[in-house]
Protein backbone atom coordinates (compact mmCIF):
# COMPACT_ATOMS: atom_id res chain seq x y z
CA UNK A 1 0.00 0.00 0.00
CA UNK A 2 2.67 2.47 0.94
CA UNK A 3 5.44 1.22 -1.31
CA UNK A 4 7.91 3.97 -2.09
CA UNK A 5 7.37 5.55 -5.46
CA UNK A 6 10.83 6.32 -6.83
CA UNK A 7 10.98 9.75 -8.35
CA UNK A 8 13.00 12.94 -8.08
CA UNK A 9 11.29 15.78 -6.23
CA UNK A 10 9.65 17.75 -9.04
CA UNK A 11 7.67 20.96 -8.42
CA UNK A 12 4.45 18.97 -8.07
CA UNK A 13 4.57 15.45 -6.64
CA UNK A 14 2.32 12.88 -8.35
CA UNK A 15 -1.26 12.78 -7.18
CA UNK A 16 -0.76 9.29 -5.77
CA UNK A 17 1.70 10.60 -3.22
CA UNK A 18 -0.73 13.31 -2.11
CA UNK A 19 -3.59 10.84 -1.86
CA UNK A 20 -1.45 8.32 0.01
CA UNK A 21 -0.30 10.96 2.51
CA UNK A 22 -3.80 12.16 3.24
CA UNK A 23 -5.10 8.58 3.34
CA UNK A 24 -2.45 7.48 5.81
CA UNK A 25 -2.94 10.48 8.07
CA UNK A 26 -6.71 10.00 8.01
CA UNK A 27 -6.32 6.29 8.77
CA UNK A 28 -4.11 6.87 11.79
CA UNK A 29 -6.42 9.62 12.93
CA UNK A 30 -9.39 7.27 12.72
CA UNK A 31 -7.52 4.59 14.65
CA UNK A 32 -6.58 7.05 17.39
CA UNK A 33 -10.15 8.28 17.75
CA UNK A 34 -11.60 4.76 17.90
CA UNK A 35 -9.03 3.85 20.54
CA UNK A 36 -9.85 6.87 22.71
CA UNK A 37 -13.57 6.26 22.23
CA UNK A 38 -13.16 2.68 23.46
CA UNK A 39 -11.10 3.74 26.47
CA UNK A 40 -13.40 6.55 27.54
CA UNK A 41 -16.73 4.84 26.80
CA UNK A 42 -17.02 3.18 30.19
CA UNK A 43 -15.96 6.22 32.30
CA UNK A 44 -18.34 8.50 30.36
CA UNK A 45 -21.28 6.15 30.91
CA UNK A 46 -20.30 5.86 34.58
CA UNK A 47 -20.15 9.67 34.94
CA UNK A 48 -23.64 10.03 33.47
CA UNK A 49 -24.97 7.31 35.76
CA UNK A 50 -23.31 8.88 38.79
CA UNK A 51 -24.64 12.33 37.92
CA UNK A 52 -28.19 10.95 37.75
CA UNK A 53 -27.72 8.93 40.93
CA UNK A 54 -26.35 11.94 42.75
CA UNK A 55 -29.28 14.02 41.54
CA UNK A 56 -31.75 11.37 42.76
CA UNK A 57 -30.23 11.37 46.23
CA UNK A 58 -29.97 15.19 46.17
CA UNK A 59 -33.69 15.67 45.71
CA UNK A 60 -34.59 12.88 48.13
CA UNK A 61 -32.87 13.69 51.42
CA UNK A 62 -31.88 10.71 53.58
CA UNK A 63 -32.37 8.26 50.71
CA UNK A 64 -29.58 5.72 50.30
CA UNK A 65 -31.20 3.11 48.05
CA UNK A 66 -32.78 3.54 44.67
CA UNK A 67 -35.21 1.52 42.54
CA UNK A 68 -35.89 2.51 38.93
CA UNK A 69 -39.42 2.36 37.59
CA UNK A 70 -41.15 3.14 34.36
CA UNK A 71 -44.66 4.46 34.76
CA UNK A 72 -47.09 4.95 31.85
CA UNK A 73 -50.67 4.21 30.85
CA UNK A 74 -50.02 0.47 31.24
CA UNK A 75 -48.99 0.79 34.86
CA UNK A 76 -45.83 0.62 36.86
CA UNK A 77 -42.92 -1.60 35.86
CA UNK A 78 -39.60 -2.02 37.54
CA UNK A 79 -36.68 -1.56 35.13
CA UNK A 80 -33.17 -2.82 35.64
CA UNK A 81 -29.94 -3.36 33.79
CA UNK A 82 -29.91 -2.16 30.22
CA UNK A 83 -33.43 -0.77 30.35
CA UNK A 84 -32.59 1.79 33.03
CA UNK A 85 -32.48 4.46 30.33
CA UNK A 86 -36.24 4.10 29.88
CA UNK A 87 -36.99 4.72 33.56
CA UNK A 88 -38.96 7.85 34.40
CA UNK A 89 -39.43 7.44 38.14
CA UNK A 90 -36.72 6.73 40.70
CA UNK A 91 -37.89 5.66 44.12
CA UNK A 92 -35.54 6.44 47.00
CA UNK A 93 -35.51 4.52 50.29
CA UNK A 94 -33.75 5.01 53.61
CA UNK A 95 -31.34 2.48 55.09
CA UNK A 96 -34.19 0.60 56.77
CA UNK A 97 -36.34 0.49 53.64
CA UNK A 98 -38.70 3.40 54.26
CA UNK A 99 -39.85 5.25 51.13
CA UNK A 100 -38.50 8.80 51.11
CA UNK A 101 -40.11 9.74 47.84
CA UNK A 102 -39.82 9.59 44.09
CA UNK A 103 -37.44 11.48 41.88
CA UNK A 104 -39.24 12.44 38.68
CA UNK A 105 -37.99 14.17 35.53
CA UNK A 106 -39.46 17.38 34.12
CA UNK A 107 -38.47 19.75 31.36
CA UNK A 108 -39.60 22.97 29.75
CA UNK A 109 -38.26 25.59 27.43
CA UNK A 110 -36.28 28.23 29.29
CA UNK A 111 -34.74 31.46 28.08
CA UNK A 112 -31.85 29.89 26.18
CA UNK A 113 -32.61 26.21 25.77
CA UNK A 114 -34.61 23.38 27.30
CA UNK A 115 -34.18 23.17 31.07
CA UNK A 116 -34.23 19.60 32.38
CA UNK A 117 -34.78 19.08 36.07
CA UNK A 118 -35.29 16.21 38.47
CA UNK A 119 -37.67 16.84 41.36
CA UNK A 120 -38.39 14.96 44.54
CA UNK A 121 -42.03 13.98 45.16
CA UNK A 122 -43.32 12.69 48.45
CA UNK A 123 -46.42 10.61 47.51
CA UNK A 124 -47.53 10.24 51.13
CA UNK A 125 -47.66 13.95 52.00
CA UNK A 126 -48.33 14.87 48.34
CA UNK A 127 -45.69 17.57 48.16
CA UNK A 128 -42.59 18.36 46.13
CA UNK A 129 -39.58 18.26 48.42
CA UNK A 130 -36.82 19.60 46.21
CA UNK A 131 -35.48 19.86 42.70
CA UNK A 132 -32.19 19.82 40.89
CA UNK A 133 -31.31 21.18 37.48
CA UNK A 134 -29.79 18.50 35.26
CA UNK A 135 -29.33 20.58 32.14
CA UNK A 136 -29.63 24.29 31.62
CA UNK A 137 -28.11 26.90 29.38
CA UNK A 138 -29.66 29.85 31.22
CA UNK A 139 -27.82 33.16 31.31
CA UNK A 140 -25.07 32.99 33.92
CA UNK A 141 -25.73 35.43 36.74
CA UNK A 142 -29.41 35.87 35.86
CA UNK A 143 -31.27 32.78 34.68
CA UNK A 144 -29.06 30.41 36.63
CA UNK A 145 -30.44 31.91 39.84
CA UNK A 146 -33.00 29.08 39.60
CA UNK A 147 -30.19 26.92 40.98
CA UNK A 148 -28.73 29.31 43.54
CA UNK A 149 -31.32 31.81 44.78
CA UNK A 150 -32.11 30.70 48.35
CA UNK A 151 -35.54 32.37 48.42
CA UNK A 152 -36.50 30.61 45.19
CA UNK A 153 -35.25 27.23 46.38
CA UNK A 154 -37.29 27.64 49.56
CA UNK A 155 -40.41 27.25 47.36
CA UNK A 156 -39.53 23.63 46.89
CA UNK A 157 -39.25 22.57 50.51
CA UNK A 158 -42.95 21.67 50.57
CA UNK A 159 -44.72 22.63 47.35
CA UNK A 160 -48.23 21.27 47.41
CA UNK A 161 -49.18 18.93 44.56
CA UNK A 162 -52.29 17.41 46.11
CA UNK A 163 -54.43 15.22 43.85
CA UNK A 164 -58.20 15.47 43.70
CA UNK A 165 -60.43 12.83 45.30
CA UNK A 166 -60.63 10.61 42.21
CA UNK A 167 -56.83 10.82 41.95
CA UNK A 168 -57.24 11.71 38.29
CA UNK A 169 -55.75 15.19 38.28
CA UNK A 170 -54.08 17.78 40.47
CA UNK A 171 -56.33 19.73 42.80
CA UNK A 172 -54.37 22.89 41.96
CA UNK A 173 -51.85 23.21 39.17
CA UNK A 174 -48.37 24.32 40.12
CA UNK A 175 -47.95 27.93 39.04
CA UNK A 176 -45.19 30.55 39.20
CA UNK A 177 -46.28 33.95 40.55
CA UNK A 178 -44.43 37.25 40.84
CA UNK A 179 -41.97 37.55 43.67
CA UNK A 180 -43.67 38.15 46.99
CA UNK A 181 -47.14 37.20 45.77
CA UNK A 182 -47.09 33.57 46.86
CA UNK A 183 -49.94 32.95 49.28
CA UNK A 184 -50.99 29.41 48.41
CA UNK A 185 -48.90 26.28 48.99
CA UNK A 186 -49.02 25.31 45.31
CA UNK A 187 -47.58 28.61 44.11
CA UNK A 188 -43.93 29.27 43.31
CA UNK A 189 -42.46 32.67 44.11
CA UNK A 190 -40.70 33.78 40.92
CA UNK A 191 -37.33 35.51 40.60
CA UNK A 192 -37.08 39.14 39.53
CA UNK A 193 -34.55 39.29 36.69
CA UNK A 194 -35.02 35.62 35.90
CA UNK A 195 -38.71 35.69 35.06
CA UNK A 196 -38.55 33.39 32.05
CA UNK A 197 -36.34 30.83 33.80
CA UNK A 198 -38.44 30.69 36.97
CA UNK A 199 -41.63 30.49 34.89
CA UNK A 200 -40.06 27.60 32.98
CA UNK A 201 -39.47 25.70 36.23
CA UNK A 202 -43.11 26.22 37.12
CA UNK A 203 -44.22 25.02 33.70
CA UNK A 204 -41.95 21.97 33.81
CA UNK A 205 -43.28 20.95 37.22
CA UNK A 206 -46.89 21.67 36.23
CA UNK A 207 -46.73 19.51 33.12
CA UNK A 208 -44.78 16.69 34.71
CA UNK A 209 -46.91 16.48 37.86
CA UNK A 210 -50.14 16.63 35.84
CA UNK A 211 -48.94 13.72 33.73
CA UNK A 212 -47.11 11.48 36.16
CA UNK A 213 -48.82 11.92 39.53
CA UNK A 214 -52.24 10.52 38.50
CA UNK A 215 -50.40 7.57 36.89
CA UNK A 216 -48.42 6.94 40.06
CA UNK A 217 -51.31 7.33 42.50
CA UNK A 218 -52.71 3.75 42.21
CA UNK A 219 -49.25 2.29 42.87
CA UNK A 220 -48.24 4.18 45.98
CA UNK A 221 -48.68 1.08 48.15
CA UNK A 222 -46.39 -0.95 45.89
CA UNK A 223 -43.85 1.83 46.00
CA UNK A 224 -43.95 2.02 49.79
CA UNK A 225 -42.80 -1.57 50.14
CA UNK A 226 -39.16 -1.85 51.07
CA UNK A 227 -36.93 -2.72 48.11
CA UNK A 228 -35.91 -6.36 47.92
CA UNK A 229 -32.33 -7.18 48.69
CA UNK A 230 -31.46 -8.38 45.19
CA UNK A 231 -31.44 -4.95 43.66
CA UNK A 232 -32.08 -1.33 44.14
CA UNK A 233 -28.94 -0.48 46.00
CA UNK A 234 -26.82 2.32 44.75
Amino acid sequence: MNQPIPQPPPPTPPSMRLIATLGLIAMFSGLAIVLVYQITFEPIARNRREALEKAVFDVLPNAVQRVNYRVDQDGLTRVEGNEVASANAYAGYTEDGRLVGLALPASARGYADVIRVLYGYDPVREIIIGFKVLQSAETPGLGDKIETDPAFLQNFEALSVKLNEEKSALLHDVVTVKRGQKNEPWQIDGITGATVSSMAIGQALRESTAELLPLLAPHVDVLREAPSSDGGTS
Partner: protein
Amino acid sequence: MMAPMTPATDKPDVATFQEGLWKDNPVFTMLLGLCPALAVSNTAINSLAMGLASTFVLLGSSTLISLLRHAIPKQVRIASYIIIIATFVTVVDYTIHAVSLELYNALGAFIQLIVVNCIILGRAEAYGSKYPPLKTLVNSLGMGVGFTMALLAVGGVREILGFGSFFGIPLFGSSFQPWAVFILPPGGFIVLSLWLFLFAWIKQRKEKVHAA
Protein backbone atom coordinates in the same frame (compact mmCIF):
# COMPACT_ATOMS: atom_id res chain seq x y z
CA MET B 1 0.60 40.29 12.11
CA MET B 2 3.15 37.52 12.55
CA ALA B 3 6.45 38.85 13.87
CA PRO B 4 9.56 37.71 12.02
CA MET B 5 11.04 34.46 13.31
CA THR B 6 14.23 35.82 14.77
CA PRO B 7 16.43 32.86 15.74
CA ALA B 8 18.06 31.14 12.82
CA THR B 9 19.34 28.18 14.85
CA ASP B 10 17.32 25.01 15.35
CA LYS B 11 18.10 24.85 19.05
CA PRO B 12 15.39 26.02 21.38
CA ASP B 13 16.34 28.74 23.85
CA VAL B 14 14.60 30.94 26.37
CA ALA B 15 13.52 33.37 23.67
CA THR B 16 11.74 30.56 21.81
CA PHE B 17 9.61 29.97 24.87
CA GLN B 18 9.12 33.61 25.77
CA GLU B 19 7.85 34.59 22.34
CA GLY B 20 4.30 33.51 23.11
CA LEU B 21 4.27 34.98 26.60
CA TRP B 22 4.69 38.62 25.76
CA LYS B 23 6.09 39.77 22.41
CA ASP B 24 3.81 37.55 20.31
CA ASN B 25 1.15 36.77 22.88
CA PRO B 26 -1.58 35.10 20.82
CA VAL B 27 -4.49 37.06 22.28
CA PHE B 28 -3.01 40.40 23.31
CA THR B 29 -0.57 40.91 20.45
CA MET B 30 -1.58 38.72 17.51
CA LEU B 31 -5.32 38.93 18.26
CA LEU B 32 -5.75 35.24 17.49
CA GLY B 33 -8.12 32.83 19.20
CA LEU B 34 -10.47 35.60 20.29
CA CYS B 35 -13.56 33.41 19.96
CA PRO B 36 -12.74 31.20 22.97
CA ALA B 37 -11.12 34.17 24.71
CA LEU B 38 -14.49 35.91 24.71
CA ALA B 39 -16.88 33.01 24.92
CA VAL B 40 -15.61 30.82 27.75
CA SER B 41 -13.84 33.41 29.88
CA ASN B 42 -16.71 34.20 32.24
CA THR B 43 -15.02 32.50 35.19
CA ALA B 44 -11.40 31.84 36.06
CA ILE B 45 -11.90 28.08 36.22
CA ASN B 46 -13.48 27.93 32.74
CA SER B 47 -10.63 30.05 31.40
CA LEU B 48 -8.04 27.77 32.92
CA ALA B 49 -9.71 24.62 31.59
CA MET B 50 -10.07 26.07 28.10
CA GLY B 51 -6.47 27.31 28.17
CA LEU B 52 -5.12 23.93 29.24
CA ALA B 53 -7.20 22.03 26.68
CA SER B 54 -6.03 24.36 23.90
CA THR B 55 -2.43 24.12 25.09
CA PHE B 56 -2.58 20.34 24.99
CA VAL B 57 -3.96 20.34 21.45
CA LEU B 58 -1.39 22.94 20.42
CA LEU B 59 1.54 20.97 21.85
CA GLY B 60 0.42 17.65 20.42
CA SER B 61 -0.51 18.83 16.96
CA SER B 62 2.39 21.19 16.30
CA THR B 63 4.97 18.68 17.53
CA LEU B 64 3.49 15.90 15.41
CA ILE B 65 3.34 18.21 12.42
CA SER B 66 6.96 19.16 12.98
CA LEU B 67 7.91 15.47 13.04
CA LEU B 68 6.05 14.89 9.77
CA ARG B 69 7.15 18.14 8.13
CA HIS B 70 9.32 16.42 5.51
CA ALA B 71 6.77 13.67 4.80
CA ILE B 72 3.79 15.91 4.10
CA PRO B 73 3.81 17.35 0.57
CA LYS B 74 3.31 21.09 0.48
CA GLN B 75 0.12 20.82 -1.60
CA VAL B 76 -1.84 18.87 1.02
CA ARG B 77 -0.29 20.34 4.15
CA ILE B 78 -3.28 22.36 5.32
CA ALA B 79 -5.66 19.42 4.91
CA SER B 80 -3.21 17.20 6.80
CA TYR B 81 -2.81 19.74 9.60
CA ILE B 82 -6.55 20.02 10.02
CA ILE B 83 -6.95 16.23 10.28
CA ILE B 84 -4.19 16.06 12.89
CA ILE B 85 -5.60 18.98 14.88
CA ALA B 86 -9.14 17.58 14.71
CA THR B 87 -7.88 14.24 16.02
CA PHE B 88 -6.25 15.85 19.02
CA VAL B 89 -9.37 17.89 19.72
CA THR B 90 -11.55 14.78 19.62
CA VAL B 91 -9.18 13.04 22.04
CA VAL B 92 -9.37 16.02 24.43
CA ASP B 93 -13.15 16.12 24.06
CA TYR B 94 -13.58 12.47 25.07
CA THR B 95 -11.00 12.78 27.83
CA ILE B 96 -12.67 15.78 29.48
CA HIS B 97 -16.02 14.05 29.12
CA ALA B 98 -14.61 11.02 30.91
CA VAL B 99 -12.84 13.01 33.63
CA SER B 100 -15.62 15.39 34.66
CA LEU B 101 -19.15 15.76 33.36
CA GLU B 102 -19.45 19.10 35.14
CA LEU B 103 -16.45 20.59 33.36
CA TYR B 104 -17.66 19.13 30.09
CA ASN B 105 -21.04 20.81 30.49
CA ALA B 106 -19.40 24.11 31.42
CA LEU B 107 -17.12 24.16 28.37
CA GLY B 108 -19.95 23.01 26.14
CA ALA B 109 -19.45 23.34 22.44
CA PHE B 110 -16.20 25.22 22.81
CA ILE B 111 -13.99 22.16 23.09
CA GLN B 112 -14.94 21.10 19.58
CA LEU B 113 -14.32 24.66 18.46
CA ILE B 114 -10.63 24.38 19.42
CA VAL B 115 -10.30 22.92 15.92
CA VAL B 116 -10.87 26.32 14.39
CA ASN B 117 -8.75 28.22 16.89
CA CYS B 118 -6.38 30.16 14.63
CA ILE B 119 -3.54 29.93 17.11
CA ILE B 120 -3.22 26.21 16.53
CA LEU B 121 -3.26 26.20 12.74
CA GLY B 122 -1.12 29.34 12.85
CA ARG B 123 1.56 27.60 14.92
CA ALA B 124 1.44 24.54 12.67
CA GLU B 125 1.90 26.61 9.56
CA ALA B 126 4.35 29.22 10.88
CA TYR B 127 6.44 27.04 13.16
CA GLY B 128 5.75 23.31 13.02
CA SER B 129 6.26 23.08 9.28
CA LYS B 130 9.63 24.88 9.46
CA TYR B 131 11.40 23.92 12.69
CA PRO B 132 12.40 20.63 14.34
CA PRO B 133 10.13 19.04 16.97
CA LEU B 134 11.90 20.14 20.14
CA LYS B 135 12.02 23.78 19.15
CA THR B 136 8.39 23.63 18.05
CA LEU B 137 7.40 22.01 21.33
CA VAL B 138 9.09 24.73 23.37
CA ASN B 139 7.59 27.50 21.27
CA SER B 140 4.10 25.95 21.37
CA LEU B 141 4.36 25.57 25.13
CA GLY B 142 5.12 29.27 25.40
CA MET B 143 2.20 30.11 23.14
CA GLY B 144 -0.11 27.83 25.13
CA VAL B 145 0.96 29.38 28.42
CA GLY B 146 0.54 32.84 26.92
CA PHE B 147 -2.95 31.95 25.70
CA THR B 148 -3.92 30.47 29.06
CA MET B 149 -2.61 33.57 30.85
CA ALA B 150 -4.58 35.84 28.54
CA LEU B 151 -7.76 33.81 29.12
CA LEU B 152 -7.17 33.92 32.87
CA ALA B 153 -6.61 37.69 32.73
CA VAL B 154 -9.95 38.17 31.00
CA GLY B 155 -11.78 35.47 32.98
CA GLY B 156 -10.38 36.56 36.34
CA VAL B 157 -11.55 40.15 35.94
CA ARG B 158 -14.95 39.04 34.67
CA GLU B 159 -15.45 36.60 37.55
CA ILE B 160 -14.34 39.12 40.19
CA LEU B 161 -16.70 41.83 38.89
CA GLY B 162 -19.53 39.61 37.68
CA PHE B 163 -19.73 37.03 40.47
CA GLY B 164 -17.70 38.69 43.21
CA SER B 165 -15.50 35.64 43.45
CA PHE B 166 -12.20 34.25 42.15
CA PHE B 167 -11.90 30.55 41.30
CA GLY B 168 -15.25 30.17 43.02
CA ILE B 169 -14.03 31.68 46.31
CA PRO B 170 -16.25 34.62 47.35
CA LEU B 171 -14.23 37.80 47.83
CA PHE B 172 -16.53 40.55 49.00
CA GLY B 173 -19.09 39.01 51.33
CA SER B 174 -22.83 38.95 50.86
CA SER B 175 -23.32 42.72 50.56
CA PHE B 176 -21.61 42.81 47.17
CA GLN B 177 -23.96 43.40 44.26
CA PRO B 178 -22.40 41.62 41.25
CA TRP B 179 -22.22 43.39 37.89
CA ALA B 180 -24.05 40.82 35.81
CA VAL B 181 -23.00 42.53 32.58
CA PHE B 182 -19.45 41.25 33.04
CA ILE B 183 -20.47 37.61 32.78
CA LEU B 184 -22.65 38.31 29.76
CA PRO B 185 -21.07 38.50 26.28
CA PRO B 186 -20.75 42.33 26.29
CA GLY B 187 -18.64 42.06 29.45
CA GLY B 188 -16.20 39.85 27.57
CA PHE B 189 -15.72 42.52 24.93
CA ILE B 190 -15.37 45.27 27.53
CA VAL B 191 -12.74 43.45 29.58
CA LEU B 192 -10.80 42.28 26.54
CA SER B 193 -10.74 45.77 25.09
CA LEU B 194 -9.47 47.20 28.39
CA TRP B 195 -6.64 44.65 28.46
CA LEU B 196 -5.78 45.42 24.81
CA PHE B 197 -5.77 49.11 25.65
CA LEU B 198 -3.42 48.51 28.57
CA PHE B 199 -1.03 46.41 26.50
CA ALA B 200 -1.00 48.88 23.60
CA TRP B 201 -0.33 51.71 26.02
CA ILE B 202 2.58 49.90 27.67
CA LYS B 203 4.06 49.13 24.26
CA GLN B 204 3.77 52.72 23.14
CA ARG B 205 5.46 53.97 26.26
CA LYS B 206 8.30 51.52 25.77
CA GLU B 207 8.81 52.70 22.20
CA LYS B 208 8.87 56.30 23.33
CA VAL B 209 11.51 55.47 25.91
CA HIS B 210 13.58 53.70 23.24
CA ALA B 211 13.23 56.62 20.85
CA ALA B 212 14.25 59.16 23.45
